[in-house]
C-alpha cells in the first residue's frame, strides 16, 4: 500500500488514522480547523471529525498546552500544534514545569500522552520567530521526548508512535521539507520511534543529522563521492532519547564524525553527541568530532539565512577538516 506523498500530507494522513482509530485522540491548535493549519497539515480533519475532535483554540500557547494537560488527565490524547517554532516559548513554562514532570510528580500514577507538533527550522524565507530550531532546549528537560522526522514515511509512522506513547513527545516538523515527497507504506512495520537509521552506507566518515539536515547530508555524501570520498549518513530521527549505539557503530567503522544541525552549535545537540561519542569511541577516532550548525546569534533576516544555515560547502569543509587530521 505504498503511496508517494509529501511530508505534510503524510502527517495529515497519520493524524487522520489516529483520529479514526482512537476516539480519545484530539487535534488542537490555532487555525487547525477550517483553515487546516497555516501549512495545511490538518487540512480537512475538522470537516470529517467535527469541532469537538479537531479544535480551533484561542491564540494562547500556554493555554493550548495547559488545557491539553488537563484533557490528558481526563483520559484524552491531545495532539497540539504550535504554529511556529518561535511561538512555543509562551508555552514553555507549561511544557517544562508541568507536562514534563507530571508523571514523576505523581509517582507514576498519571500519564501524559500529549504530542506537541512544532513546525521548525529555516530556509523558507520567513520573518522573525518563524525559523528557529529550539530542540536542544526541550531535549535538555527530563520527562520530554523529542523527535524529528526527515522524510514523509518517518513523518507518518513517527506520528503514530508519538500518539501511542504515554510520555509527552515534542514532534519537530522540518517545515522546509513539508513538500518533499516520498513513498509511504501505511501497512509497513515501522522502526522503533527512537532508533537512528543509517540512510547511506560509507567508509570514510560519518555524517549525523536529523530533520531538515538529513537531505543536505545525503547531498553532501553525493558530492563527496565525486571527490572519491565515501561518507556514511545517519538519520538520528530522535533527539531524546538519542540512539548513540547506532552512531557509535558507524563511527567505529568510519572513525570520523561530523554532526550537522540548524540550531546554534553552542550548547546544542551536536555538543552532546560529540561528548558522548568521544567517550564511547575515544580509541577509534582519527579526528575530533566536528559540528556544523547555526551561529550564536539571533536567527537572521531571511536575506541572510543562506549564510547562517549549514549548506553543502560548509559541511564539505568540515568533512575536509576531519579527513585532514
Amino acid at each position: 500500500m505504498a503511496e508517494k506523498m509529501a511530508m505534510a500530507k503524510a502527517i495529515n494522513e497519520s493524524l487522520r488514522r489516529a483520529l479514526e482509530t482512537d476516539p480519545k485522540v484530539l487535534v488542537m491548535g490555532e487555525d487547525v480547523g477550517k483553515l487546516g493549519g497555516v501549512f495545511r497539515v490538518t487540512d480537512g480533519l475538522q470537516k470529517d471529525f467535527g469541532e469537538s475532535r479537531v479544535i480551533d483554540t484561542p491564540l494562547a500557547e500556554s493555554g493550548i498546552v495547559g488545557t491539553a494537560i488537563g484533557l490528558a488527565l481526563r483520559g484524552y490524547r491531545p495532539v497540539v500544534e504550535i504554529q511556529f517554532d518561535g511561538f512555543v516559548f509562551p508555552a514553555y513554562d507549561q511544557i517544562v514545569t508541568q507536562l514534563a514532570k507530571m508523571h514523576a510528580r505523581s509517582l507514576g500514577k498519571v500519564k501524559m500522552p500529549v504530542v506537541i507538533r512544532i513546525p521548525y527550522g529555516g530556509g523558507i524565507g520567513a520573518v522573525e520567530h518563524h525559523s528557529e530550531s529550539p530542540e536542544a532546549l526541550f531535549a535538555h528537560v527530563a520527562g520530554l521526548k523529542v523527535v524529528s522526522p526527515s522524510n514523509a514515511s518517518d513523518a507518518y509512522w513517527m506520528m503514530q508512535q508519538a500518539i501511542q506513547s504515554d510520555d509527552p513527545v515534542i514532534y519537530f516538523e522540518p517545515k522546509r521539507r513539508y513538500w518533499d515527497k516520498a513513498e509511504v507504506d501505511v501497512e509497513a512495520i515501522p522502526a522503533p520511534l527512537h532508533k537512528a537509521q543509517v540512510v547511506r552506507e560509507g567508509t570514510d566518515l560519518t555524517l549525523a543529522a536529523y530533520g531538515p539536515m538529513v537531505k543536505l547530508c545525503r547531498e553532501v555524501a553525493d558530492a563527496a563521492t565525486e571527490e572519491g570520498k565515501s561518507l556514511e549518513v545517519v538519520d538520528l530521527r530522535s533527539v531524546s532519547p538519542l540512539d548513540f549505539d547506532t552512531v557509535q557503530a558507524s563511527v567505529e567503522k568510519t572513525r570520523r564524525l561530523v554532526v550537522v544541525h540548524e540550531a546554534p552549535v553552542f550548547f546544542g545537540s551536536g555538543a552532546e553527541i560529540a561528548a558522548r561519542i568521544t567517550e564511547r569511541c575515544f580509541y577509534h577516532l582519527e579526528a575530533p568530532v566536528l559540528r556544523v550548525g547555526g551561529y550564536h546569534a539571533p536567527y537572521p533576516p531571511a536575506r541572510l539565512e543562506e549564510e547562517y544555515l549549514p549548506d553543502l560547502d560548509r559541511v564539505l569543509d568540515a568533512v575536509d577538516r576531519s579527513l585532514a587530521y
Binding site: A60, L71, H103, L107, G108, S165, D167, P241
Partner: protein, 428 residues
C-alpha cells in the same frame, strides 16, 4: 454584586434576582480594591462620592455575600440561602469540626517545620472557612485542582493529611494518587493548574458527564497569564469549571493593590461569565456560593469566578517574615473575623452544639496532632533509585544508562571498594 456577563445571552436560572439582592447590603465596595476603577453600580464615577465615602467609613467591609456575621449572627440572603436551606445542626457541627481539625493539622505542620522535620510549610491559618466551605460543596465525582495551600480542601476530599507532608519533608513531589480522591497534586508554579482544570473540564463536557471542576488560586495568581488564559478557554468552550480565588490579601509581601485595580471578582465580566465575591471567613456563605457555582457548571452554564475575600493570618510560608511588610493591627482586625470563632458563636447561640461536643473535638484534635507528628517522623527517606523512577512512562535510554552508572557507583560503597570513581565511570 454578582456580575452577570451579558443580558443578551439566554437568561440563567435566577439571574434576574441576582443583581442588587446581596450586593447593596453593606453599602459600597470598601477598602482596597473598591477605590480604583469600580465601574459598576453606585460607585461608578471616577472619584468616590461624598456619600459613598461616608458609607465606606461606616463599614470597611467590601460588599460580599455573607450568611454569618463575625459575631455569629445568621443573616438572610435572598439569593444564596436556598443553597444551605437543608443544612442540619449536625452538618454545621461537621463544618466546625472540619475547620478545627484542619487548623490543628496546620498548626502541627508549622511546628514540625520549626522543629526541622519539614523543609517548608505553607500555612492556611485564617482560610479554613474558604477551603472547608468550598471543599464541602464538591461532589465525589468532581475534580479539584489545588495550589499548595489547600490542606482544608484536601481534608474534605478525604486525602489523608499526612500524605500532604511528603513534599514539604522532601521525600516526594506529590504523595497521593490524584485519581483516588479526584484531588490533583499540589502545583507550585503560580496559576498553572487553572489551565489543567480548564482542560479537565473541557474533557468532562466532551464526555457528556455532569461533574464539575474547581480550580483554586490566590490573588497573586490573578496576575498570571495562565489564569487569564484559563478564563478565556473556559468561557470559549463553556467548560464546567469553578475558579475559586482565595484573596488572602497578600502575595508574599505584595498586597492586592499590586495585582489589580478592580475587585478581582469583576475580572470575570470581561471574559463573559459571572463573578461573585463571598466572605471567605464565612463557611456557610462559601458553601452556598460554591454550590451555586458548581450547579451552574453541572447544568451547562459554564464557568464562574468566586472570589473568597479572606486573610492569611500567618506567613506566606515558613520562609516568609510578614512583620517586614504588614502591621499587627491588620492581623488583629482580621482575627475579629475569625472563621472558626464565628461559627462557634453561632453554634452556641443557637444551641446546636453543647460543651460535650467541643470537649470531644478538642480530644480529637489532640489525637490528630499526635498522629501527624508520629507519621512525619516515621516517614522513610525514598530509595536512592527513586531519582530515576517515573521520569518517563515508557522508559528512556539515557535514564537507563545513567541508572546503571549510578548503580555501579553505589555498589562501590556497598562492597567497601575505594575505587569508586573508576567503577562508576566504567558503567557504560
Amino acid at each position: 454584586m454578582t456580575v452577570d456577563s451579558s443580558a443578551a445571552r439566554k437568561p440563567r436560572r435566577s439571574a434576574a434576582g441576582k443583581a442588587g439582592t446581596t450586593g447593596d447590603k453593606t453599602g459600597t465596595t470598601g477598602t482596597k480594591s473598591g477605590t480604583a476603577g469600580n465601574t459598576s453600580g453606585a460607585t461608578g464615577t471616577k472619584r468616590t462620592t461624598r456619600t459613598t465615602r461616608a458609607a465606606a467609613k461606616k463599614s470597611t467591609e467590601p460588599e460580599l455575600v455573607q450568611l454569618l456575621t463575625p459575631e455569629g449572627k445568621r443573616v438572610k440572603n435572598a439569593e444564596y440561602d436556598a443553597y444551605v436551606a437543608g443544612i442540619t445542626p449536625e452538618d454545621l457541627r461537621g463544618l466546625y469540626r472540619d475547620m478545627v481539625l484542619t487548623r490543628r493539622f496546620d498548626a502541627e505542620a508549622t511546628a514540625l517545620q520549626r522543629q526541622g522535620e519539614l523543609g517548608l510549610w505553607a500555612s492556611l491559618l485564617g482560610q479554613e472557612a474558604a477551603q472547608i466551605g468550598s471543599g464541602r460543596a464538591t461532589r465525589e465525582d468532581d475534580y479539584v485542582f489545588p495550589t499548595y495551600r489547600e490542606h482544608g480542601v484536601a481534608w474534605c476530599r478525604g486525602v489523608d493529611p499526612t500524605n500532604l507532608l511528603g513534599m514539604f519533608r522532601g521525600v516526594n513531589n506529590g504523595g497521593w494518587d490524584p485519581n483516588s480522591n479526584n484531588f490533583h497534586l499540589y502545583t507550585i508554579v503560580i496559576g498553572s493548574q487553572t489551565l489543567h482544570a480548564t482542560g479537565y473540564a473541557m474533557g468532562i463536557a466532551k464526555d457528556g458527564a455532569d461533574s464539575a471542576v474547581i480550580a483554586y488560586f490566590g490573588d497573586g495568581a490573578s496576575s498570571q497569564g495562565d489564569v487569564a488564559e484559563s478564563f478565556t478557554f473556559s468561557a470559549v468552550y463553556n467548560a464546567p469549571v469553578v475558579f475559586f480565588c482565595q484573596n488572602n490579601q497578600w502575595a508574599i509581601s505584595e498586597p492586592t493593590e499590586k495585582q489589580s485595580r478592580v475587585p478581582l471578582y469583576q475580572r470575570a465580566q470581561g471574559f463573559g461569565f459571572p463573578g461573585v465575591r463571598v466572605d471567605g471567613n464565612d463557611v456557610l456563605a462559601c458553601l452556598a456560593v460554591t454550590r451555586w457555582a458548581l450547579e451552574r457548571a453541572r447544568t451547562g452554564e459554564g464557568p464562574t469566578l468566586v472570589e473568597a475575600y479572606t486573610y492569611r493570618m500567618g506567613a506566606h510560608t515558613t520562609s516568609d517574615d510578614p512583620t517586614r511588610y504588614r502591621g499587627d493591627d491588620e492581623r488583629a482586625a482580621w482575627e475579629a473575623k475569625d472563621p472558626i470563632l464565628r461559627l462557634r458563636r453561632y453554634l452556641e447561640a443557637s444551641n446546636h452544639a453543647d460543651e460535650g461536643f467541643f470537649a470531644e473535638l478538642e480530644a480529637e484534635s489532640e489525637a490528630l496532632g499526635k498522629r501527624v507528628r508520629e507519621a512525619v517522623r516515621a516517614m522513610p527517606d525514598p530509595d536512592h533509585f527513586a531519582i530515576f523512577e517515573n521520569a518517563y512512562a515508557d522508559g528512556h535510554a539515557l535514564v537507563d544508562e545513567e541508572r546503571a552508572q549510578f548503580a555501579a557507583y553505589q555498589a562501590t560503597f556497598a562492597t567497601g571498594s575505594e575505587s569508586g570513581f573508576a567503577a562508576g565511570e566504567g558503567g557504560h
